[in-house]
Symmetry: C2
Subunit: 361 residues, 2 copies
């Protein structure tokens, strides 16, 4: 693994869209008692179900674990799932694994963004900041270390030059003190290989990441965006989504297309129960990260492969509608629903739990 002093854009690399062909998927075994209840066992079962489901579709899945959880994880996962040691404290591969970029000559490289525990809202992030580098080392992939704190859940790309982000998240001074919107656009251009950034003001309400776009909206295809939506004007999500809709409809992408928007229903509102909160460090000790009882639940937080869509099942009142809409939006994909409330209790969902490794082009 060489660490390169250049940038992906300068070297002709770009981040592919999530729907482009994958060589594999990375996930992290939930293992801390701070965000996960009951020693993380319920979250581990949910993660195992997700990993096994993705592996069932023929995609290579690697689940990383700390050393002392190896045997337990190994016995919980299908034999087709690879289990490897990579120490980490947090559980979200999307945010700590590398963002892979490709060029037109069959090469793949990785971007290692700095990580600081979501703007120091979570503790113990030092090993997580090493995570991307370790994955690139393990996969013998050349590395760019990006000089900015950004998690993988903070952006979506259409693979054709456009990034989708929120200002609430990307301009958070607890992550990066300094960069203006223009400077941040230049950094995204350099490290994701995009030429156009579409900004939303804010992400999902009550999101502990402070506005990760992947819990709010995502590209379904070039020119097509899925947006979390509620018609309930009293819900704090309403004005966030309404403003985002306005911004999306007023935007054009890198190819000059105006964006079409498909709405996904907002589940709930969902709240953690007392029983669910009990026994996590973040609940019972003076928490550095105040866990809100309202859960940041979103059907937009799905994982997309070239032929499958792995969608969280969150709320019996909305699951069918969400699955039906997504099947219509992705007519060539098979939609797989996976119960993920135990992942949601830790603050994220299926998209947060996964990081694709795109195939070289």
């Amino acid at each position: 693994m060489r660490t390169l002093g250049t940038t992906p854009a300068a070297d002709g690399f770009r981040m592919p869209a999530e729907w482009e062909r994958h060589d594999g998927c990375w996930m992290v075994w939930p293992q801390n008692g701070y965000v996960w209840r009951e020693g993380a066992r319920p979250a581990q079962r949910a993660l195992a179900a997700l990993a096994n489901a993705v592996a069932d579709t023929g995609e290579d899945v690697t689940v990383t674990v700390t050393g002392d959880q190896y045997a337990h994880a190994r016995s919980s996962l299908d034999s087709r799932v690879r289990v490897v040691e990579v120490t980490s404290w947090l559980g979200w591969a999307r945010d700590i694994a590398p963002t892979f970029v490709v060029d037109d000559t069959g090469r793949r490289r990785g971007v290692d963004f700095a990580f600081n525990g979501y703007g120091n809202r979570y503790p113990y992030w030092a090993t997580d900041d090493q995570y991307a580098r370790k994955v690139l080392d393990l996969t013998a992939t050349d590395r760019y270390r990006a000089p900015l704190v950004v998690e993988g859940g903070a952006f979506h790309v259409d693979g054709e030059g456009t990034a989708l982000v929120t200002a609430e998240n990307l301009l958070d001074p607890a992550r990066n003190s300094g960069p203006t919107r223009t400077a941040m656009e230049e950094l995204l251009a350099a490290y994701l290989g995009v030429t156009r950034t579409v900004w939303l003001d804010r992400g999902l309400t009550h999101d502990a990441t402070l506005g990760h776009v992947d819990n709010m909206a995502c590209f379904a295809a070039p020119g097509l965006v899925c947006l979390t939506w509620t018609d309930d004007t009293r819900d704090p999500q309403y004005e966030r989504s309404a403003r985002a809709l306005e911004q999306l409809r007023g935007a054009t992408d890198a190819r000059g297309r105006t964006l079409r928007v498909e709405k996904l229903p907002l589940p709930g509102p969902l709240h953690a129960t007392e029983g669910e909160m009990r026994g996590t460090d973040s609940h019972t000790s003076p928490a550095r990260h105040p866990r809100p009882p309202r859960l940041a639940a979103s059907y937009a937080n799905f994982y997309l492969s070239a032929d499958h869509l792995f969608v969280p099942l969150l709320d019996p009142g909305y699951d069918d509608e969400a699955l039906t809409r997504l099947a219509r939006i992705f007519p060539d994909h098979t939609v797989v629903g996976i119960p993920t409330r135990e992942l949601l209790l830790g603050g994220g969902n299926i998209h947060c739990a996964t990081q694709q490794m795109p195939s070289p082009q």
Copy 2:
């Protein structure tokens, strides 16, 4: 990674000779203070020199580390060397990494022998017993778990059906209580794919492993064995080597060949100095493993690739003779000498520190 209930021999697999083509080499970063002095830093420098030298010849090298040593190991090793997390306590890849086997249809699998700290002569071996399994998981290689305690340094093969072992080591009751010589031969036949086992009575004097053959003798080619030798009849090694010579000359291999023997000089005798022993746990605390001051030094403990030979430099009085003899024995290989006294202080040498991953055939 599937764990198979059959055996390599039953499935048509065999262990290739070390000189057959490799896809890569595995090494373990020295990291405990029990066998390594000064926080293992001198041994780490020696291991790094070895890893970089093997990588220099174009062979893919992976060095495994525990999580907290990742950044240190990474910065000590050439960027071509892959550094990955695999927790272990001991430092010898030969003895804890899988033994890879191949068949004639392009498949490679791995044998995971049980490990118990060299017959409980070393403590803390639980994670080391998981090591082979983790490497097979990481490399997506199907696994045989062998129902016997054997380290990789306990056998050499010629790739054509013959294994070379010592009775002192393989019949050690602290490793396996029970198997007769015949039963052990059957197990080696099943797991290494050999049909003939050549037994030496004993290995090198003062070897803490109790007679690993790889510190005593090895195949240089089918029908050709290198044997550690001394003409000093007062040295305790003399009668060990003399008896081995007698046994080798009286043996035939799996193809019916009589064996030719090439002698390698015994260095020294070498002893650890007080300064070298100071500061290791095994020296300053009541040691479960009594470290003998005489070092088990051997030029036979080299690593062999398809075109290179990596030989320990041990004793200025014998190094040139050893290198010259080995260059004559391996006329088609380039001989690379590497100073390894700091590895030797921990009880092993270059062959112990390496484990080849043979290419599929």
